[in-house]
């Protein structure tokens, strides 16, 4: 019994110290849920944000559809960076996001990429030859880049013929990993992922933007972050020049 009380006391002391540290000096924390395609850019942005404001950004990466489902089920995210405009709009319509806080933070592009060098120069021809055992895409149901990949393959008339050779990554990040590890020969991936590699790695073909609907990536302030100064600061930072420069550096377009 005495042991127990002592343990309880220790726990209380530990907890209060931790809480005091967390709220020290006005430096806050913001919980950000980010679409997987934006992983590399977001890591840089989070670092710059911390240096500039002293706030800390705690970042979770998943596919847009998954994050949205989690938010619907009460996930404690305060800012949502989606890979489409549809989910942030839905979040706003359902009262999960702060009305009027939506804005486009990036416009994404799609690339056909293989870890093998000199595999193709015209990706369209290569796809049509079908000279590969597996092609990776992100899950079209949950990942906007997967949805765009599906549009490309449908336009090329390859969606049905390739269906049993299309490997679906849980996120565009997993699709990329499948290709980078050589397990899939080729993948329809985010251009930003390819550009994050040393220049000239593998074979790359930028898919013409007329082959798929524009990937407009919107961010939104969620209700849970409405009164958090760190969340508001993050939104401001994301709209600012530093974040925009980082974003364009990864091959995205900005408005």
């Amino acid at each position: 019994m005495r042991m127990l009380t002592r343990f309880a006391k220790l726990a209380v002391v530990g907890l209060t110290t931790a809480m005091a540290c967390a709220s020290a000096a006005g430096a806050g924390e913001v919980s950000v849920a980010v679409a997987a395609n934006f992983t590399d850019a977001m890591r840089d942005i989070a670092r710059a944000f911390e240096t500039a404001t002293g706030h800390k950004a705690v970042v979770s990466f998943a596919s847009t559809g998954k994050i949205y489902a989690q938010i619907q089920n009460g996930a404690p995210f305060e800012v949502f960076l989606a890979a489409d405009a549809a989910r942030p709009q839905k979040a706003e319509a359902e009262g999960l996001a702060v009305p009027g806080s939506r804005f486009t933070y990036a416009k994404g592009k799609l690339a056909l990429w293989s870890a093998t060098e000199n595999l193709f120069s015209d990706g369209e021809d290569y796809l049509k030859t079908g000279a590969f055992s597996h092609a990776a895409i992100a899950n079209p149901k949950t990942a906007p880049y997967g949805f765009a990949a599906r549009q490309v393959l449908e336009r090329l008339g390859l969606w049905d013929t390739l269906s049993d050779r299309l490997v679906r990554g849980d996120t565009i990040a997993q699709a990329f990993q499948f290709v980078a590890s050589g397990n899939a020969d080729v993948g329809l991936l985010a251009l930003s992922q390819v550009l994050a590699l040393p220049a000239g790695t593998g074979s790359n073909w930028e898919i013409p933007e007329t082959y798929y609907e524009p990937i407009v990536q919107e961010a939104v302030l969620l209700k849970k972050g409405e009164t958090n100064p760190a969340a508001l600061a993050f939104i401001d930072f994301l709209k600012g020049g530093t974040a925009r420069n980082i974003t364009t550096g990864y091959g995205y377009a900005v408005e």
Partner: protein, 225 residues
């Protein structure tokens, strides 16, 4: 709501094949381990039990590396002209065999160890060959062990998720098994389908365990009387 049966059938097919492979592969391993009187026994037993402790992601990660076209096993398979292993049904069977290995080996090993030396000694005085002894003495006596091994391997493979997610590639009809399909439905907010599959799994899992315990209980009672 149209219900897609293909993940259910795929999971059943995967579990059936995995169980058969595990009984064939697991029996000699369990037999050898049960008879082993050497310090190497404990390390080997630990090795077999590893999948019980390791996160499926560890297994998935190493399988992905080893089975990749430029990986150790991948190159051999490619050299034999068999194509690639990840993202294929045979790939899932290989992964499942590793993943469920302890569920087959441990019950069998326990059953073999429980037999003791006596029945085998008696059988060999009757001039039974080792193979004879195994199939006419050991197998019938270790029946509960075989049943447990088969049922647990089957059920554990049906419940497999993490490894499949990492090396399966979610291809409908080939690698999109039941657990992954449920995950997909939940993540896309298709709760109707998720409900049907999940409730089905719940009933299935309970039934499997109930049958297993009931049958093993009856065997135990029968052997006592």
């Amino acid at each position: 709501m149209t219900f897609d049966w293909s993940p259910v059938l795929l999971s059943l097919k995967l579990a059936t094949i995995t169980t058969l492979v595990l009984l064939i592969v697991g029996t000699p391993i369990a037999w050898r381990l049960a008879r082993l009187r050497h310090w190497i026994k404990q390390p080997l037993v630990s090795l077999v039990a590893l999948p019980l402790v390791l996160p499926p992601t560890v297994l998935g990660f190493y399988l992905l590396l080893v089975l990749a076209p430029n990986g150790f096993v991948g190159q051999i398979v490619k050299g034999m002209g068999l194509g690639t292993i990840p993202f294929t049904f045979p790939g899932l069977v290989i992964a499942s065999v590793f993943y469920s290995l302890p569920f087959a080996v441990q019950p069998l090993q326990n059953a073999f160890e429980g037999l003791g030396e006596r029945p085998l000694e008696v059988a060999s005085t009757l001039r039974a060959t080792p193979l004879d002894r195994f199939f006419t003495v050991v197998v019938p006596l270790a029946r509960p062990g075989f049943l447990t091994a088969a049922v647990l391997s089957f059920a554990h493979t049906i419940g497999e998720f993490g490894v499949v997610l990492m090396i399966g590639g979610n291809i409908p009809g080939q690698t999109k098994v039941l657990s992954v399909a449920i995950y997909d439905h939940v993540e896309t907010l298709e709760y109707d389908q998720a409900h049907v599959m999940s409730a089905g799994m719940l009933v299935f899992a309970f039934t499997v365990l109930l049958v297993l315990y009931a049958v093993n209980g009856r065997i135990a009672v029968a052997e006592k009387s």
